[in-house]
């Protein structure tokens, strides 16, 4: 049988071709993943037989038509995708997939990071996780209760400060991770600066820069569009499994502290999953106890960063003063002054 396979690359602005990819994926029972920037397709004559996509550092939507599997098409698709990524200056890549594809992607140079519930896997093609763990391990402290907090702090409020203080009181040492992704209103650089200033009076604390492995667009893409309520539960579980099995052991973490979440459904669900995943007695690593600390209130309302952003829009510094530490207040005033 004659066949001529051709490959082509295009980006998300090419609506007509994106539509074809979508119907191809649907025809073989796969969902069309949201937010792909670049696509690769393979066609035999006019028929679409394989595809793949790149979204930042994450490869998505990789599929081959069932009757064309076993021909090595996936290797060509992966080569094209890696070439695109390289040409954009991205060389460390991640893949979300299902466990039956582990070997396939291992053949493309990817290594398994985590397999969650045998439903979803995360793989990467670099050694960055190992290096990150080694760097973390340098900050390991001895003690019976080694606490941890992960925060975005967009921006740092009295609520965050209270959580850190309470957690530090109950821990021999506290590790605070700052979400590194620059997808929030406040930049990482500013968020971590305000956190450092706001916890400078606590003696038993280390503030860590987050990474691709802790609530990032790689491990937990839907976190950053939580306003749309589109958080994928599997992504949340995956993120927590990476924390439990990789990051926590590097630092000997025994507890994770979170604020109670009265408003945001997404965060609330995340906290529920946190208990399920981190406290599960059987697993590859030691369980981690989750401690919920009641949020501080001000005038009967829990303090939240979203309230700060709201007040800031209105320029209501009188109200802001009540819910952020003076270091954050100074920063916000400066920021306002510059605009």
């Amino acid at each position: 049988m004659e066949s001529s396979i051709s490959f082509s690359e295009f980006d998300f602005t090419n609506k007509r071709r994106v539509k074809r990819v979508e119907s191809f994926l649907n025809s073989i029972g796969l969902d069309f993943p949201s937010s792909i920037e670049y696509f690769v397709i393979a066609k035999d004559g006019d028929k679409l037989i394989a595809c793949g996509g790149l979204d930042g550092r994450v490869l998505k939507g990789i599929a081959v038509a069932p009757q064309r599997r076993g021909e090595g098409l996936i290797l060509s698709v992966m080569t094209h995708l890696i070439n695109i990524a390289y040409s954009k200056g991205v060389k460390d890549l991640f893949i979300f997939s299902t466990p039956n594809n582990i070997e396939l992607f291992e053949n493309c140079g990817f290594k398994l990071i985590e397999n969650c519930d045998n439903k979803i896997i995360l793989m990467e093609n670099s050694d960055k996780l190992k290096l990150y763990k080694e760097r973390l391990a340098l900050h390991r402290k001895d003690g019976n209760t080694i606490g941890s907090i992960v925060m975005n702090a967009n921006p740092f409020t009295l609520g965050h400060q209270y959580l850190a203080q309470e957690a530090a009181k109950r821990s021999d040492w506290l590790h605070l991770f700052v979400v590194k992704e620059d997808l929030s209103e406040f930049r990482f650089k500013d968020r971590i600066k305000l956190i450092r200033q706001g916890v400078s009076h606590i003696e038993n604390i280390t503030v860590h820069e987050g990474s691709d492995y802790i609530i990032s667009s790689a491990t937990f893409p839907t976190y950053f569009i939580k306003d749309k309520g589109e958080v994928n539960e599997l992504h949340a579980k995956l993120d927590l499994s990476v924390f439990r099995n990789h990051l926590a052991p590097a630092l000997g973490i025994s507890h994770r502290f979170v604020g109670t979440e009265p408003y945001c459904v997404v965060t609330n669900n995340y906290n529920k999953n946190m208990k399920k995943i981190l406290e599960n007695p059987d697993g590859k690593s030691n369980p981690i106890e989750v401690v919920e600390i009641k949020r501080v209130e001000q005038d009967g309302k829990a303090i939240s960063a979203s309230r700060v952003r709201e007040l800031l829009k209105r320029g209501d510094f009188k109200e802001l003063e009540k819910i952020v530490p003076h270091t954050t207040l100074e920063f916000l005033k400066n920021m306002q002054g510059k605009q």
């Binding site: 090595g72 290797l75 060509s76 992966m78 080569t79 890696i82 390289y86 060389k91 291992e106 053949n107 493309c108 140079g109």
Partner: protein, 98 residues
Amino acid sequence: MNKIKKSAYAGTLESSDAFVQIEPIEEDEIRVELTSSVEEMYGDDIRELIKSVIKELSISYISVKVQDKGALDYVIKARLQAAILRANEDEKINWDKL
């Protein structure tokens, strides 16, 4: 011994080819990470080959990752040389040396 200027790659993941990624590192060594479909038979030979190609070009401080899909020696050599030339953005290629 020379350092490469930046990271680079060459090749494909397809059968009978090799995909080569190189990166500059701080340590004075040639760090080789090989994944090969013919590891049992030729793994050690391929690692030797990779090291000798890099040494011929007087390069060190380099990490090399190779996904080999049963490529012949000269394919691996050519892919590796191409990656190194790309990493150094060499305009004038000294063909005698290659």
